[in-house]
Symmetry: D3
Subunit: 130 residues, 6 copies
C-alpha cells in the first residue's frame, strides 16, 4: 500500500474530486490510477502535479505519443517500475507498436552505454558542439 | 585530454580509418568528433560501438530525429555533459526547433519528478498496467 | 532471501551479537531488521557500517529527524525500495507527520526536475555561486 | 553558454519580466541567476517552474533552510554541478553553518552507500516496514 | 510478464533458435533465461545484444570472473533487480566466494559514498590526475 | 575551490596531520590529493572516511588492482568526474594496462545498456536466480 494510503473517489473531498474528474475527462477514461490516489493525500501536490502534466503532455511541437515515449525512456533510465508500467501502457494506448517499442529500447540502451563510455574515457567536448 | 589520448585520422590504422570513413559517409560530414577518436584506442570497441549506433539510429519505425531526441532525454537524465552537447547538436542538425527542445526538456523534467514521487509514496502498480 | 542468507540472533557469533545488542540499545527497540542480518554474513562490514551510521545519525548540528528525512530523500532519488521503506518508517517513528512527508516529497520531486533542466539547458555556473 | 542562450532583463518580454520581478522580490535580491535566464527562452516553462518552486520552497511544516538542504542532498546524489553550486550558496545564505553542511554530506554519503548495500545483498523488506 | 511476452525455444524462429543455441553452447548450459526470451521479440536486438555480450565477456586482459563481478558492481549501482540476481548467480557459478562478494560490496558501497562526497564538496581535479 | 576550502598540511591540526601522514605512508606517496584536503574541514569525516577506505581497499579475497577497477566502474556509472580521474590514475599506478581499461569500459558500457533493457522489458527474475 502507498505510504499514506490511497484516496478513493467515494472518500475524496470536492477539491480532490475536481482533479479526478479532470483527469478522467482529459484522458477519456473512467478510472483513476494509484499514482493520483496516493498524491491525493496532499491535495496541493495532487493539483500542482496534475496541472503540470496536463500542460506538458498536451499536443504541441511534439505529438503526445512521442512525449509518452520520452517519458518511458526517462523512467527506464531511472529504473522506476511504477512509471515504466504506467507510461508503457499509456504509450501503447496512444499507438506505440511493438516495433516502435523495440527501437525505443534500443536507443535507450545504446544511450546509456555511450553515456558511460564518454564518462570513462574523460572525453572533452569538441569546439563544434559548444 | 581523453584517458588514453585521441587518434587522429592521419595517425590511424587502416582498420580505424575504415570506421572513420564510414562515420563521415553515413553522417555526410567531413570531421570526426572526439568520442570516436577516444574509442579508437581500442579498435574492437570502436567498431562494435559504431556498428551498433549505425544500426540503431537508422530510420525505422521511429524517425532519426525522434531517436536523437530520445538520446538527448537519456543523456540529460544521466547527466553526461559530453553526450548532451553532442546529441543536442545532432538533433538540431536533424531539424529540432527550439520549441521542440523546450517541450522535450519539459517532459524530461516532469518524468524525473514523477519517477521520484512514485518511489517515495511506494505506490503499487495497478492491475490494469500489468 | 538475501544473497548469502540472514543471520538470526540465536545463530550469531559473540562478535555479531555485540553489534546487534548495540543496535537495539541505541534504537531502544527489541528486534533487528533484515539489513543488519544480511550484512552480518561479513562481520567486518556489519561492524564498520553500524559504527558509521551510529556516529553519523547521532544528534549534532542537525537533529536526528532531519537526518532521517535526508536519508529518505536520497533513497527516493536512488530508487532503493528497501531503504525507502525502512527510513520512512524510522522518520515516522521520530515524529515525521504526513504534512512533513508531503513537503519532503515535493522538494525531492522538484529538485530532481530542476537538476535535469540545468543539465539539459547546459547552464553555466554564475560567478556569484563560485 | 546555455543551449538557446540567456535572456537578460533588458531584453525580456513583459511576461518574462514579471517572473523575474517576482523572483527578485520573493528572494529579496537584485539579480537573476542563469537558471532562470535559460528557462526564459520558453516563457511557459519559466513561469510553471518558478511558481512550483515558489510554492514548494515556502515555509510550511518544514522550514526553508531544511528544504534547501534537502535540495542540496538530491543535487549531490544526482551529480548536478549547477544545482549543487546554486543551492549550497542558497543554503548558506539561509543560515547553513559549516557544521551543518558536514553533517548533511555525511548523511548523504552514508545513504548512498547503504542504498547500494541493500541492492547488492538483495534484502527483502521486513514485515514491520510494510 | 515481460512487456511483449517471452519467446520459448519451441515457438522460436530459426533465426532466434540459432542465437539460443549459441547462448547455451557458449555458457555450457541447457536453458535460456528470461532476459533473452524477452529480447527475442525483436530478433535484431537479440542478436546484436548477444554478440556484443559474447565478445565483451570472453577471456581477455581481464578474466571472465572479474568481468562478471564488474557487471554486478554496475548493476548494484544502477539498482537493477533482474541484473543483480542474474549476474550474482553467474559470478557465483564462475567461482565468486562469499568473501569475494563481501569485499566487492564493500568497494561498491564505499565508491558510491565517496562519489557523492566529491560532488558535494565541489572538489577540483588535482593537476596530477589530468 | 572546494565548498569550505582545502586544508594544506602546513595549516592542519595534529589530528588532521596524523591522517595525512597515514595516507602518505599507506600509499607510499609524498602528497595529499584534494579529496582529503576538502574532507579535512570536518576532521571526524576525514578520519572515518580514510579508515574505511584503508580497510576496504587493502589486499584480501580481491587484489587491490581489481578493487581499484571496481571503484572506476562505479564512478563511471555515477558520472563523478573527480572520482573517475583520481581512481583511473590510481588503477594505472597499480598496473592497469590500456587493454585492461578498454575491457573494463566495455563491460561497464554493456552492463549499463542491459540494465536498462531489463527495466524496459519488465523482465521477471527466473526461479533459477532466486
Amino acid at each position: 500500500m502507498a505510504t499514506f494510503g490511497l484516496i478513493e473517489y467515494a472518500d475524496a473531498t470536492p477539491e480532490v474530486r475536481a482533479v479526478y474528474d479532470d483527469i478522467m475527462a482529459t484522458r477519456k477514461t473512467d478510472w483513476i490510477n494509484n499514482f493520483w490516489k496516493a498524491l491525493a493525500c496532499d491535495p496541493a501536490l495532487l493539483k500542482r502535479t496534475w496541472e503540470d502534466i496536463k500542460q506538458i503532455m498536451a499536443p504541441g511541437a511534439l505529438d503526445p505519443l512521442m512525449k509518452e515515449m520520452v517519458y518511458v525512456a526517462v523512467s527506464v533510465t531511472n529504473g522506476c517500475p511504477y512509471c515504466i508500467a504506467s507510461h508503457t501502457a499509456a504509450a501503447r494506448n496512444k499507438g506505440m507498436t511493438p516495433e516502435m517499442f523495440h527501437e525505443l529500447m534500443s536507443v535507450v540502451g545504446m544511450a546509456n552505454e555511450s553515456n558511460r563510455l564518454a564518462n570513462g574515457y574523460q572525453i572533452e567536448i569538441d569546439e563544434q558542439f559548444k
